[in-house]
Symmetry: none
Subunit: 420 residues, 2 copies
């Protein structure tokens, strides 16, 4: 059997050829393939036409051992990936009654009748191996073409991702070479990209020459820096060990500015620390409009430590809900350190939580002044015996200011929990 060393990716969907939509599935697919040592050598995007999809599949098969197609497996007539694949493998499409039954049952469970059009999703080129879809109606299909493989997966990422994981653990792993490429993301706050990069230069040099070399790429993302590490080895534990040791070297250099060595987002890091210490938190938000609390509650199990939050967008609500003295707002302005401090402390008291957070700022596009331009945000974190307050000036549009403010608040909580 031919080993799978190289892959081409074909994204199907006319909407992906417009100025507003991108194929992001190929990033997921590339990550999974790389982890099995399979290199992606080509990516293509094609519209919803049988001939265009079939041509792209043929071009992919001419240059790679595996072609992964995403999209075009829906129930409508512009979903043509099945037809194109049948043409490429030169085998007829046949309805698989087991799939039809499964789709019908999904509809029945929701009290709906299956539209006839959904039967299209049960059509499979003869000889295709079904990849079950636990999340949606369209199954995936694994087809062999001479000694190469054509894999069809649905377009929605939440369907594609688990199916890809299943294939990577099964059919694909058996056919891959056994060299693994593993990646790690180390996440950093409190430094600029170039400062972090300079501090890490000696590590880069060392990593390049060690027995399992580490490749590193530094990227500036909003409100944080990401260091992407990768290692290639004969076995997963070897690559993992090299990456773990590299990540710990980064912590040795950047200390507390590293908030996660495994790609965990800041809300998960903060949540884990609150859980570990059985502490609770309550939040008073103004300009972030609930985003900080929404991020905190994105983490499974957050009901153990998130008690409550108040979004006091209106000044009247700051007073009626949190008991903030109107005179304080009058004296310093709603966007000020004294008001942020009062929001955090009052919220902590009201809720009985161990930690209180207050955020007040100007998200824009309106509401800025010379003294307090758009992007000015005051953040306070109140704990027993200590309240920390800082004022930030964020750059960017409304959504970017909201995100950066929530990120700054989470980071202040994290650093306070770490202690002196």
């Amino acid at each position: 059997v031919r080993r799978i060393r190289t892959a081409a990716i074909v994204a199907v969907g006319s909407e992906l050829l417009t100025p507003t939509r991108m194929d992001t599935n190929s990033l997921l697919v590339t990550g999974r393939l790389n982890a099995l040592g399979v290199d992606v050598v080509h990516k293509a995007v094609v519209g919803d036409e049988v001939s265009a999809v079939a041509l792209a599949m043929r071009e992919g098969l001419a240059r790679a051992d595996l072609v992964v197609c995403s999209g075009g497996l829906g129930p409508t007539t512009d979903d043509v990936t099945r037809e194109a694949a049948a043409d490429v493998v030169a085998r007829p499409l046949q309805e698989d009654p087991a799939i039809t039954a499964r789709i019908r049952e999904r509809f029945t469970r929701r009290g709906m009748e299956m539209p006839e059009s959904n039967r299209r999703q049960a059509m499979v080129p003869a000889g295709g191996i079904i990849v079950p879809n636990e999340v949606g109606t369209a199954p995936g299909i694994w087809l062999t073409v001479d000694d190469r493989v054509l894999l069809l997966l649905p377009g929605p990422p939440r369907e594609l991702e688990p199916m890809l994981a299943a294939v990577a653990a099964g059919l694909l792993r058996e056919r891959a070479e056994g060299i693994v490429l593993k990646r790690r993301v180390v996440r950093i706050t409190g430094r600029t990209e170039s400062h972090a990069d300079q501090a890490l230069q000696p590590l880069y040099r060392e990593w390049a020459t060690q027995s399992i070399p580490i490749e590193a790429t530094i990227l500036a993302a909003m409100g944080q820096i990401e260091l992407h590490l990768s290692a290639r080895a004969a076995a997963e534990p070897l690559a993992d060990a090299a990456l773990e040791s590299a990540a710990q070297r980064v912590v040795g250099v950047l200390a507390r500015d590293v908030y996660s060595v495994d790609g965990a987002p800041l809300e998960r890091v903060v949540g884990a620390e609150l859980t570990r210490r059985t502490l609770t938190i309550a939040v008073a938000e103004s300009c972030t409009g609930g985003l900080l609390t929404s991020r905190l509650t994105d983490v499974p199990g957050s009901s153990r430590y998130v008690l409550e939050a108040a979004v006091v967008y209106d000044n009247a609500a700051k007073t009626s809900r949190l008991g903030i003295d109107p005179a304080l707002i009058e004296a310093h302005g709603a966007v000020s350190e004294p008001v942020a401090r009062a929001m955090a402390e009052h919220m902590r008291q009201l809720s009985g939580a161990d930690l209180g957070v207050g955020i007040t700022g100007i998200a824009g596009p309106d509401g800025g002044s010379e003294e307090k331009p758009v992007g000015t945000v005051a953040v306070a974190v109140a704990a027993m015996g200590e309240t920390r307050v800082r004022t930030f000036r964020f750059v960017g549009d409304r959504l970017m200011v909201k995100f950066q403010a929530s990120q700054a608040a989470l980071d202040m909580v994290r650093r306070l929990l770490l202690g002196p």
Copy 2:
């Protein structure tokens, strides 16, 4: 001369074949081309190898009138786009002394000597037309291949964008058809993709044969359906009018299930309606953890109508903050229609807002039961004299349940505002 009606895009760069980087230039290129009526029929990403780039160019030229290549025009040996193009057009690379002089001068102006490697950037396949680069060193190149065109542009967006604008205003405009391509996104709730698609079949048939035909693609996104419409016409107002009329026909068929005919997200539609009627809103969230309020406040100007919100994650907070009777929670459970109703009505009263929203549910992964599985969410909207309550069963992980619940709540507010 052959008119340019279709284009293929080739992005060159091995880094674009990794799991963390995407080709975003093609969106810029597509926008420019569409404005001239040129349809993008294929996109490809290839690594930095002469044979791979040349093959992608050939494949592009086989399917389109124009191939736009971005990237691979730098001074280093892994910049191979010039060599690949020379191979494809079967003409030799020649150094253009005017370009060398220009590059040398750029270096001199900064007090630097031009590295010899930069002479690579002055190499042009015989017959190529130079597209000047005001921002960087690499010029673009316009090559004719039989009756088709191969256009080479540098990868950095800040260099590519002005060069593309210049080409679009000059060489390309002369060769394009003088036809514009415009797009619209119509957004729909309350129907499945296949139900909406079936209802729209008569429109699709009609659109295909009218004087300015409308192309339609239907897509299922989380908590909504999108219908992408496009029209080609001799002038922008004609295309716009055809799209507007098509969008109104969709409204005629799907009525209130259409929430926007211009791609606006639901929070913007609800915000516009609240603004138009000078109404205010306040929110009590449990399982969505602040997401609904964060989405409402993503809209610029939302401080005019969002008064406040309470995230009452904890049952104690439901009572202390909203005055919800513990006996009610005891009798029906925290996730129940009576509790959602009380949250909405109490929040409305407390805040003095015109509308109150209450959301309580089980986002998972834990907390589900046989009777109330993960994904069960009760949503209530209270207005003067009327409270509407519904229970949903959403499918998906925690973030998906949160998003769908916020989407359902926004849609209930929208429908209530529309009246009977």
